[in-house]
């Protein structure tokens, strides 16, 4: 597509684009959720070992994947903002953080509710769940640091540096937690026994797609508000119809 992408790196133009894009992500997200859950609950069979409880994975696994994916995207945008000094990149990073953190929370919550009937405890210090918890802390750190700095530019750049340091650390943390978990012979939450039935895989893939589209929609919505806040003293914002006249 021979669009001049750089036009959209200005908050002014991106504001409009984001607004137009939201429905294109929100509606498919809802439909894909419905489809994925239909396949997951009505097409996929009961698991031999875990019974009906395994159906939690259709939200647990996508939430985990997305929480990690969003962190990397967030760090990427933050790095762009830091290196190229583009305001919009930093705004995107700020917009992604709450969504990523909430997905991490969903992952932890559903992981606990999956673990309790399966492994008997609300929290098993499984390597992935523990890494997910640490990821949540990293999200909190990013959000907290950004919120604590009044000057927007300094906030963006400091949080960006933190996000980059965090990303570098994530593999190190994951490796050390995995090692720690095997040392202490902790449990590993994964599918035991037979490989996953095709319908289960399909359902999970569809819900993953749904979660991703949801994340894009919400982030675009959020970044619009961030743009308004940051650019409130510019002319184009004050002339917006939404702000009344």
């Amino acid at each position: 597509m021979a669009i001049n992408w750089f036009k959209y790196s200005a908050p002014t133009t991106f504001y409009g684009l984001a607004g137009r894009l939201v429905p294109w992500f929100a509606v498919p997200a809802a439909l894909l959720f419905a489809l994925g859950l239909y396949i997951g609950f009505f097409v996929a069979p009961v698991d031999a070992v875990q019974g009906e409880a395994y159906r939690i994975i259709f939200i647990h696994v996508p939430a985990s994947i997305l929480s990690m994916f969003l962190y990397l995207i967030m760090a990427g945008y933050a790095a762009l903002g830091l290196i190229f000094n583009t305001r919009l990149s930093s705004m995107m990073a700020t917009a992604l953080a709450p969504t990523g953190a909430l997905f991490a929370f969903i992952s932890l919550w559903t992981g606990a509710l999956w673990g309790k009937p399966m492994w008997g405890a609300w929290w098993v210090w499984d390597a992935r769940l523990t890494s997910e918890l640490i990821l949540l802390f990293l999200y909190f750190g990013f959000i907290a640091l950004h919120a604590s700095i009044d000057d927007a530019r300094r906030a963006d750049r400091a949080a960006a540096l933190l996000a980059i340091v965090g990303s570098v650390n994530v593999p190190i943390i994951y490796f050390s937690v995995k090692w720690w978990n095997t040392l202490h012979q902790g449990s590993t939450i994964k599918f035991t026994g037979t490989s996953m039935h095709v319908a289960m895989q399909q359902a999970m893939f569809v819900t993953l797609l749904a979660c991703w589209m949801y994340a894009v929609a919400v982030t675009l919505l959020r970044v619009r508000s961030i743009i308004l806040e940051r650019e409130r003293n510019t002319q184009w914002v004050s002339e917006l119809k939404e702000a009344g006249l």
């Binding site: 859950l37 609950f41 009505f42 097409v43 996929a44 069979p45 009961v46 019974g51 009906e52 409880a53 159906r55 939690i56 939200i59 647990h60 939430a63 709450p98 969504t99 909430l102 929370f105 969903i106 919550w109 559903t110 509710l113 999956w114 309790k116 009937p117 039935h197 319908a199 949801y214 919400v218 919505l221 959020r222 619009r224 508000s225 961030i226 308004l228 806040e229 409130r232 003293n233 914002v237 004050s238 917006l240 939404e242 702000a243 009344g244």
Partner: protein, 63 residues
């Protein structure tokens, strides 16, 4: 009234909601997920409202 599933025979609505005894865990998971999504969307809407309010204030201050 039943629900036909391809993996096995039909189950009643009641059995479906029971989730083989795991109702609390399964619906607890999806319930909280839906709650989180709803809360997030509400938060974003609220953020937009307050952002627009700030814009209005800014404009009025400028006049």
């Amino acid at each position: 009234m039943g629900v036909r599933i391809e993996g096995g025979g039909a189950v009643s609505i009641a059995e479906f909601f029971n989730m083989g005894g795991y109702a609390f865990y399964v619906w607890g998971s999806y319930g909280v997920t839906v709650l989180v999504f709803v809360v997030e969307i509400l938060m974003v809407k609220h953020k937009r409202k307050s952002a627009l309010q700030q814009v209005r204030l800014m404009r009025e201050a400028g006049e």
